[in-house]
């Protein structure tokens, strides 16, 4: 920009300058000029990502008191704590983006309670067995790692920096999940069945995790905007295919199957051909009408309300000063 101040530019010139910056690989910072569409797309993406980390800890934390050994209990506790930490990082990034709109963390929490702020489809699902606990770490975190690493170079600096920290910890999450499923896969017939059941139960949710390949399937999709602004590079379908490439051979190598007998790899098209999930289920979940939506939201609400006095007590000193 040199000697010309930003405020001397027209809106179009600002936009042009902004696009040049992100095309050159520069990072946009919280107080920089940015198009409204960019800010809104980031708020939507990052607040959902952040709140999903927190809601995502809920199905797993159910397994903390029931973990089969002390070491497994320590492992899953550490993992759940990491997810809460990811939530803290990401909400912080979202808060700086909503600040100019006069909003705060409190608004994000209230939006979650009122259903305006969504959380990821996988965290609306039940986790009835220890197999689910392992599967979440292995495949749900695996899917999350695929989408998160795709944004490590996001044009928005604070998000890229948060993701760098998060992905480093996700490596532990992936291995934690692998350790659990490996023990089950090499275990008794009953344990292998438990693992296969978990895969069958989660398969559809895992397909939906990446979002629809085209907007028609659910009525909306933000993938074009996030690609245009270099927040991510790959489409939903490309990410899903990456997931298949990484995990289908691993599932098969353990003698396990996915509940889609027609699925195969098409050498010519270089992609997996598979049955679409029932996208109506995703639409239901987006309205917080999934199997566990209400229960988990209620849990979050109760925790928020009954712990209000703790937050208040922690702040006492600052008020006295």
């Amino acid at each position: 920009m040199g000697l010309i101040g930003m405020n001397q530019l027209t809106e179009e010139e600002k936009y042009e300058h902004f696009m040049k910056r992100i095309e050159a690989g520069e990072k946009i910072e919280a107080d920089d000029w940015m198009p409204e569409e960019y800010r809104m797309a980031l708020i939507k993406l990052i607040s959902m990502h952040g709140i999903s980390e927190i809601m995502g800890a809920l199905p797993e934390k159910e397994w903390v008191p029931r973990a089969p050994s002390l070491r497994r209990k320590l492992g899953i506790m550490a993992k759940v704590q990491d997810e809460m930490g990811h939530g803290q990082l990401l909400l912080r990034v979202a808060e700086d983006l909503i600040k100019p709109l006069g909003k705060t963390r409190e608004d994000l929490i209230q939006d979650l309670f009122s259903g305006r702020l969504k959380f990821h489809n996988v965290f609306h699902m039940p986790a009835p067995s220890w197999g689910d606990a392992g599967l979440i770490g292995w495949l749900v975190d695996g899917a999350a790692i695929i989408t998160q690493t795709n944004m490590l170079n996001a044009s928005y600096g604070p998000y890229a920096r948060a993701l760098k920290r998060i992905c480093a910890e996700e490596v532990f999450h992936a291995q934690h999940g692998e350790a659990i499923i490996m023990a089950l896969a090499e275990g008794s017939e009953q344990q292998r069945e438990m693992l296969q059941d978990a895969i069958n139960r989660w398969w559809e949710s895992l397909l939906m995790f990446f979002g629809p390949d085209k907007a028609e399937r659910t009525g909306s999709s933000k993938q074009d905007i996030t690609i245009k602004y270099k927040i991510r590079t790959k489409t939903n379908e490309e990410l899903r295919q990456d997931f298949f490439n990484k995990y289908i051979p691993r599932i098969k190598s353990l003698g396990l199957t996915v509940p889609d007998e027609t699925m195969y790899y098409d050498e010519e098209q270089e992609k997996w051909i598979y049955q679409q999930p029932d996208w109506n289920k995703l639409k239901q979940i987006m309205k917080n009408q999934g199997p566990k939506s209400e229960e988990r939201l209620k849990l979050r609400m109760t925790a928020y309300e009954t712990n209000a006095w703790v937050r208040e007590a922690l702040g006492v000193k600052s008020k006295a000063m």
Binding site: G5, M6, E29, D31, Q81, R161, L314, G315, K317, S318
Partner: protein
Amino acid sequence: MSNQSHDFYQEFEVFSRKSDTAPMQYQFSLLAPNHEIALVMAQENFMRRESVADIWVVKRSDIRKMTQEERETLKRLDNKDYRMTKGYGYLKKKWRKFEQKMLDEKEILSWGGGGKQ
């Protein structure tokens, strides 16, 4: 409820040092109602595994950050060879002619005698 008011939480920037001789490194920001809680949160949020020797929390409002325009003036042209060792790399060949080694960064910084500091 008082903790729902807009000024309950403040923004803090977190810095930490891995070891006593490492530089202070920026970590991330967090929300806390005061410095004491900010310090506890910093440890919980950012230092769950890696070793750490010291942590600083600074209220964001006490930091004068650069604006976008100011940052854009920092861009350098790639014409500073004369200030950098890479502008003098040709000496390596010259000294070889005189059967001597060039005193490069690695060599000079080893003169303290202690190896790794």
